[in-house]
Homo-oligomer: 127 residues x 2
Amino acid sequence: MAAPQPKYDVFQAIADPTRRQLLSLLSEQEMPVTVISDHFPMSRTAVSKHLRILAEAGLVKDRKVGRETRYRLESEPLQELKRWLSYYERFWDNKLSMLKHYVESDSTEEAERYGKLEVMKPSHHNE
Amino acid sequence: MAAPQPKYDVFQAIADPTRRQLLSLLSEQEMPVTVISDHFPMSRTAVSKHLRILAEAGLVKDRKVGRETRYRLESEPLQELKRWLSYYERFWDNKLSMLKHYVESDSTEEAERYGKLEVMKPSHHNE
DNA sequence: AAAATATGAAACCATTTGGTTTCACTTTAG
DNA sequence: CTAAAGTGAAACCAAATGGTTTCATATTTT
């Protein structure tokens, strides 16, 4: 029953430099593992494992062609990242709201300041 | 001499769910560690370590106020993430260029296909 | 059919990561 | 001055991570 929820999310998937390079490489064209691993200083198996992690995060898809398995980029999951990021953009894009934020937090009284906030409610941008 | 290059970059820093929640919380206002850790199910020390990692990535700044150290969000480093992401946006925003990409990679001959590419040149989006 | 190619799975390993508890230090409050 | 509050650093730990080597299996090639 329980959905076999993926072990790796987009954030974790792109945290590794090698995996970001893999995405970059695959964005150019579809490729089988052997060819891909020629571009990296590690074993084919290691590359294969990184690909599996990317696949779990939905960032790459594969298809069998004869005896090879070709991997290709699937950028759609990156939209989650964009969405997460959009929340923070206001802090550098909108000077006005940023200033407002700053002034407010500095003009409040010491006691009770933090307790009044409604924080950590898992909403769109928390995770 | 050698710049003590930070151990954590933005990608790694935001890979952890707890750290993303920290950014979310701090985006509301500046806070001392003790108050922050009240919002998490782990020890103050653990939160403190996450904050240090975020600080290494430049995502939070702190300032001493009496005996407390207040942390605040510093969103600027997230621009690197936005920049990285912008490269991939074309794969979902621009249906035309995506299609072009797909057609090209599928119409080429088997042999020599991969060798012709100029890949992995560490450029703006590789890492 | 036999040899070569392409790949995933498994078993191992060293290092990193995310947490904990304990201790020392500084700054405020009584 | 003494106690309490706020923190960071250190020592420890179990689990996760990123690699490796070896082995089994499926598909081509000759």
